[in-house]
Each structure stands twice: as C-alpha cells, then as structure tokens.
C-alpha cells in the first residue's frame, strides 16, 4: 500500500492545542485527575489509562462532542481563532459508518460534510490505500470489524485535517493493518500534522509519542 | 350538629372530595419526610465509608 498520493497539508502556520488542567465527569463524579497538554503540529500525544478511566470521554470532549467539567481547551490559530472544528477530525469508538450505505457513499458523505472535494477516483484511491480495494459498492454493514475500522480511518486520508483524534485506532486491526496505520500516522506527523490518540497495549506508538498522558484517579 | 354535616344527597361527593384533598396532601407530606430521612441516612453512611 503506497502512501505517495497522501494529499499535502494546507500551509504550515503554527497552530497549538492547549488543554489546561482539564477534567471530565460522568454521573456527577470527576473521572480522572486534571491533565495538561500542549500539542503542536508535528507532534503526537498518546492517552493511556485502565478501562473506565475516561479515555473516550476525554477524547470526545476534545473533539467537541462532550464537555469538560473543570478546566478546558483552547486552539490558537493565527487567522481564525475558533476554527478547531475545521482543523480536527474525530474517529471514535462508534465509527460513524452507516450500515445500509456502501463504503463509497459513506466516504462521500463524510467528505462533502467536511467540505473537501469528493471525486469518485479520489475516494476509491483512499479505499485502496486502507486495503478496501474491491469493497467500493459493498454495504458497510456487511464488513468485518477490522474492515469497518479501516473504512472509518479512510476518512482521514480524504479530509486533509491537521489534528487527528483517534479513539483506540489499533483495536480490531490485524498485524498488516496496525503496521499500515503506524506508518500512516508517522507520515502524517512528519508532514506537519498532529495526532491525539488513545492506546494502551501498543508499545511502538508509546515510544513514538512526544507526549504521554496517563489518566490517574481523581 | 348532624344536620350541619348533612349535605343533602351529595354527602358522598362533598365529603369524598374533602377526604381526597386531605389524603393526597398527607401522602405528599409523608413522602417528603420519608425522602428526607432516607437521604440523610444515605449521605451519612457514604461519608462514613469515605472516611474509613
């Protein structure tokens, strides 16, 4: 699987994501001790913690689908301050594929919703890259768990967003998939992208991470 | 005295309404206090659990 036609990122202004002593809560109880993070382009942060420590809740809060009960986050971007949604994409535990739509339709929907061009060949090229070559007209519901994960990850290749928010991306992927994903993330980082992901059993990603956040009890 | 209480043939309806009024407000009154007692017991035991 070649990575050459990964579309280059937009102009390389310096953008920084600040998360300052943030805490999330579930049922009125704070889930983890306050955390701080300063994520710039070209960096990767990995969040780890035992099950139920609030990794997904934290990632959803950063993506904009949830909220912080303490502290908060700012995204300072030179020309448009509150454009976090334009610069980030979230692939969550619930992958976001519509079961009764085909892979192409799912991808096309995600692309148009985020305003990036969606030519047929570009979409199928992305599907090839994630190893879903022949599955363009296959219903997303009939795919295996790993293939569904790949379909969700293929969105990242189409929407050129600088900040990738991935919730346990390596789960359900086979060895080849993990290698490809590791390769793809590193390529994204080297090209001036940034990634914030949760993973707890993958040694390789922990070594590559610039920031390692472990969620402690509150 | 009895004539005073007699509401003509509407005894059942008038006294029924009054009884209903009394009973429902009493139920509300009792449920408040039961809720209160149960709540303070619950909080105190939680406090003891946290200190121990």
């Amino acid at each position: 699987m070649s990575l050459n036609n990964l579309n280059p990122h937009t102009s390389l202004q310096s953008t920084i994501l600040h998360i300052s002593h943030a805490q999330c809560q579930k049922g009125g109880e704070p889930l983890f001790a306050p955390i701080n993070l300063r994520l710039e382009r070209g960096e990767m942060a990995v969040i780890s913690g035992r099950n139920g420590s609030g990794k997904t809740t934290l990632l959803e809060a950063v993506a904009g689908l949830g909220s912080f009960c303490e502290g908060g986050m700012e995204f300072d971007h030179p020309d448009s301050p509150d454009s976090w949604l334009q610069h980030s994409h979230y692939v969550g535990h619930f992958l976001g594929n519509k079961a009764s739509l085909t892979c192409l339709e799912n991808l096309n929907f995600a692309a148009t919703m985020n305003g990036s061009s969606s030519h047929e060949n570009q979409l199928s090229a992305a599907l090839d890259q994630v190893g879903l070559g022949g599955y363009e007209y296959h219903h997303a519901g009939d795919l295996s768990a790993g293939q569904k994960k790949r379909l969700a990850l293929s969105r990242l290749l189409i929407l050129n967003k600088t900040y990738w928010l991935l919730d346990e991306p390596f789960v359900n992927l086979d060895v080849a998939g993990c290698d490809w994903l590791f390769e793809c993330i590193s390529h994204h980082i080297n090209n001036g992208g940034a990634a914030l992901l949760t993973a707890h059993d993958n040694k390789r990603i922990h070594e590559k991470a610039d920031h390692l956040i472990h969620l402690e009890r509150p | 005295m009895m004539t005073l209480l007699d509401m003509g043939k509407y005894n059942f309806f008038v006294w029924g309404s009054m009884a209903l009024f009394g009973v429902m407000l009493a139920v509300d009154f009792i449920s408040i206090h039961r809720q209160r007692k149960q709540l303070s017991r619950q909080i105190k035991s939680r406090q003891r659990r946290q200190q121990s």
Binding site: K26, G27 | L4, F13, S17, L20, R36, L39
Partner: protein, 251 residues
C-alpha cells in the same frame, strides 16, 4: 437597594438557600394548616347553599384552588426551567424539580374532585369539558417533565437541563393547548356550564371568601412542600460538597 441584591445573591447559592429556607418551613406549614381549616369550615358550614346545586357546589372550595394551583405551579416550573437552562442556576433546577410532583398532585386532585363534582352536576363522572380536558393534558406535561428527569438519573445535571428544556417547551405550548381545547369544545357542544367558569358568577362574598382563603392555603402548602423538596434535591445533588455534611450534622 443592596438588601434585595444581597438577598438575590444569597438565594442563588445552594448553601445559603438551604439555610435561609430552613427557617421558613415551619411558619409556612402552620399558616397553610390554619388557613385550610378556617377555609373548609367557613366553606362547608357557613357559606349558604347554592340555589341551583344545593350543597354539591361546596366541592368548588377544593376543586377550584387546586385547578388554579396546577396552572400556577406549571408557570413557575416553566420560568425556573428558563432560568435553569439559560443561567444554569442550581437553585432554579432545585425549585423546578421540587415543584413538579406537587404540581402533578394538584392536577390529579383537580381531575378527581372535578369528576366527583361532575356526577351531581352533569350526571356522569367524566365529561370532555374544556377545562377538564386541558387539565388532563396538563397532567401529561407534568409527567413529561418528571419522566425525562428520572430517565437520566445517572447524570443529575444533564437530567435537570433536559427537564428544563421540556418545561420551557411545555410552557410555550400551554396557551396553545388551552386555546385549542376551548375552541374545540365551543364548536361541539356549545358552552356547557364549565366547572371553573361557574365561580366567576359568584356575587355572594360569603361564598367567595372561603374560596380565596383556600387558594391562599394551597399556595402556602405549595411553598412548604416545594421548599422542602428543593432542600432535599440540593442535599442529593450536592452530596460531595462540604456544606452538606455540616448541615446534616447540625440537625
């Protein structure tokens, strides 16, 4: 002027709201009890019988105040819902969720006493009269608010905000319901002697006095019951705050 502002600020913060309203509970209850006893005795024994309905109209002294209360309390729930939703005030959430049960109770009381009054007056326990129908729909509004709150009982803050939203939607909808139901009955069966409409015709002060006394009595009881539940609500939702423990150990 700053006395009022200070009072407003104090009522806004849960611990001082809890402490201040603690003193008002006893007086409200005593007042409510006294007024009820006086109103009922006055209404049942001293008010003259109605020339048309004889003594059955005395149910009005319980039915009409309850009906007024059911509407009055929903208006309060709607306003508190608006405050709680826009300014996220904990005390407004407490007052809203504390008023809902007592409001539903008064609505149910109105429906039941209305049926008991309907039997002697119309000959049937239930008649789809304009006021009774909108009272029944009001009961659904109350059940809606309480239902959405208890559905999300794992996260009290979110449950309160959703209940506030449902209360606001209900408040906007209330006049529409009353108007459409009024309009609907006026087409089908002409203006029957509606239960609540009857009292506006009362000229006799000795009939009106017990009614107003009872209306006041139910208001005081509402305040007592609501403040009590609001304090319980604050205890429950602020459990891990320090002031809760202090308050409990004092009493």
């Amino acid at each position: 002027m700053n006395k009022i502002v200070k009072f407003y600020h104090e009522m806004g913060s849960p611990p001082s709201f809890y402490r201040i309203t603690g003193y008002w509970l006893k007086p409200f209850f005593v007042l409510a009890l006294a007024l009820t006893v006086y109103g009922l005795i006055d209404g049942l024994f001293f008010a003259p019988p109605d020339y048309q309905q004889g003594d059955s109209y005395r149910i009005m002294f319980v039915h009409v105040p309850a009906a007024w209360m059911s509407l009055f309390i929903y208006a309060i729930i709607g306003v508190c819902g608006l405050i709680a939703f826009v300014w996220r005030m904990k005390v407004a959430e407490a007052v809203m969720m504390a008023s809902a049960p007592i409001g539903a109770l008064f609505t149910a009381l109105t429906l039941l006493t209305g049926m008991l009054w309907g039997k002697p007056m119309w000959g049937t326990y239930w008649d789809w009269d304009a006021r009774m129908t909108s009272e029944l729909i009001l009961l659904f509004l109350y059940i809606g608010v309480m239902g959405i709150y208890s559905a999300y009982d794992d996260d009290p803050r979110k449950a309160a905000r959703l209940a506030a939203l449902v209360a606001i939607i209900g408040l906007i909808n209330l006049p529409i319901i009353r108007y459409s139901v009024e309009w609907w009955t006026s087409i089908h069966q002409g203006a029957s002697i509606s239960l609540m409409g009857g009292n506006s015709g009362i000229k006799d002060w000795s009939m009106l006095r017990p009614l107003l006394v009872m209306a006041l009595a139910t208001k005081f009881y509402y305040l007592y019951s609501m403040l009590h539940r609001a304090r319980n609500y604050l205890l429950r939702t602020e459990q891990n705050k320090s002031w809760v423990m202090r308050q409990l150990t004092e009493q």
